[in-house]
Amino acid sequence: MNEELDSQLSAMFDDQLPPGECELLARRLSRDEQLKARWGRYAVMGAVIRAERGVRLNAPLAGRVSAVLLAEPALGAQSLAGALPRRGLRWWQPVAAGALVAGVAAMSILWLRAEAPSVVSPLSAHLTTPAAGARERGGRADSYVVPPAPAVPAIVVPSTELANYVVAHSMYSSPVARRNLLSAFMTSEPAAAEEPQDDVKSAAQ
């Protein structure tokens, strides 16, 4: 990762990169795994530090991280940034702070994965409403109803089978939901094991 690329990434963050360069960098981001990974890590670091997206460190650790960042002279002197050349005060330059943040990022990535929406947190019991009943009431929703979570073991549905369901369902989703669903399927992790296929109608071409 050369300094020029770092500088361009930083400029992107700071709304300082000309549109032409921005487009070129975006294209490079789409095919350069290392660059994209670096970019993603910094984005996650920011999320962790600001406790965004539901990403949370435990309070004492978050407090210590914030305190260190605020105490770091290079980072605390933001007010001076305007008096210096814009590209002269990039966030990647303070090595010590970067190392700290990288550590936080590593933790945050783990935390993000643990917080994935596929993991359903325990939900309290509630009274569900029959569909017919809802229609009779004119379709008014009960506010903040919490669905129950049946106690069932979570075992991964075989991926080829799941692909069938996803594709079939996608035809009936709203356009945005459909794009999200298919995109997620396109980018999902490959299954570790192949499930048996007893009814293959058409063999290898």
Binding site: A134, R140, V152, V166, S183, A191, Q197
Partner: protein
């Protein structure tokens, strides 16, 4: 990273999205009008394109912006690259969408990672899975070549809080920021940055009931070309040695049947109702599958009912999976496997799947209908 930034998740997408500024600004306005398909489609019937007269009418409501967006996504030609964020992972994908003479063609391809592709040309759907060396091929009934989605009505609005929370410049385009907030935890919400000129969503965020972002899509570039060549809908992946799983003849869909039909949901989450009932054969299978679709006007859940292949003496356990923010849940009831899939929380598909019953249940293995 020292400075406080408004939203790092958004920043990641925003910065990528800046690249689309020039392309969209130059291409969209002139071409948007030219891309309307000649044939009338179901989607067009429910949400016609704005006419000059409508431009002078009062400002669209937030629900009308959703309608316009759905209309744009289903009827325009577009070619774009976007970032998809979920669970800390970011991947780039390309989508090409064409409506020509009433036929929809679409290609969605992962630019990195799995290299999977989804291609739809008219009634033919193909899903290329290089990581599994498999191609799934499905044929939809012709009348489903362009499925219209239910309009956002008053009932839908009672289960979501739909608002315009502001207008902002995104990718140097004027956008309306529309939020669709669920009133309970059975469904997800959206934040949408809808282009004021073309009604295309330049950025979308999927949020849980607490407003936390769980999935985000931001276009890095987007063009609305008048014509898109057929070659754009050919897969890049080499399928040499791949296993091809095809469907048999797809059965025609039937309208939503009355409550006396065999399979139905005894109870549903508030606001959900059955919108479609069909029978089809999924790729790689000889068995017909009952396909029920339930929707609240924004989210939808499919339920597939099929005869369970008995392996051993014990019934298989219930299974669940997640595809991005969407959920799947499979269980066995009286010898039938019931699988629910939808862009809703896992608890919702679990609830619906466990509520699907056959009123005149016939033991598995006996011809039912």
């Amino acid at each position: 990273m020292s400075r406080a930034r408004p939203n790092s998740g958004a920043l990641l997408g925003l910065t990528l999205a800046w690249a689309c500024t020039a392309a969209l600004a130059e291409d969209a306005p002139g071409q948007a009008q030219a891309t309307a398909p000649a044939a009338t489609t179901p989607a067009q019937k429910t949400s016609p394109a704005p006419t000059p007269a409508q431009k002078t009418s009062p400002a669209p409501t937030p629900a009308q912006w959703l309608e316009r967006m759905n209309h744009a996504l289903t009827t325009r030609n577009y070619d774009g690259t976007f970032s998809h964020w979920h669970g800390g992972h970011v991947e780039m994908l390309r989508i090409i969408h064409r409506v020509q003479d009433g036929n929809v063609s679409e290609r969605l391809v992962s630019l990195d990672g799995s290299g999977r592709e989804f291609i739809r040309t008219g009634v033919n759907l193909a899903c290329y899975l290089p990581d599994r060396r498999t191609v799934l091929v499905e044929q939809r009934p012709p009348q489903e070549s362009l499925v219209g989605f239910p309009a956002v009505d008053d009932q839908t609005a009672s289960f979501y809080d739909i608002r315009e929370v502001g207008r902002m410049r995104l990718n140097r385009r004027d956008t309306h920021v529309i939020t669709v907030s669920p009133r309970d935890e059975y469904r997800y919400g959206y934040r949408l940055w809808i282009d004021a000129s073309t009604a295309m969503p330049l950025k979308t965020q999927l949020c849980d009931a607490h407003g936390r972002i769980i999935e985000q899509v931001v276009f890095a570039n987007l063009t609305l070309p008048v014509r898109i060549a057929d070659a754009s809908f050919r897969p890049e992946v080499s399928t040499l040695g791949f296993r091809w799983l095809r469907t048999g003849t797809a059965a025609a869909p039937a309208p939503a049947a009355p409550a006396t039909s065999a399979w139905n949901a005894l109870r549903l989450p508030p606001g959900f109702r059955m919108s479609v009932r069909s029978a089809q054969v999924l790729p790689g299978s000889n068995q017909p599958v009952d396909h029920l679709v339930f929707t609240d006007g924004v989210a939808s859940v499919s339920v597939f009912v099929e005869t369970q292949t008995v392996v051993g003496t014990q019934a298989p356990p219930a299974r669940s999976a997640a595809v991005g923010s969407s959920s799947a849940f499979s269980t066995v009831v009286d010898g039938y496997k019931i699988t629910a899939v939808g862009e809703v929380p896992l608890a919702t598909v679990q609830f619906i799947a466990t509520q699907v019953k056959a009123q005149d249940l016939v033991p598995a293995g006996v011809p039912q209908r």
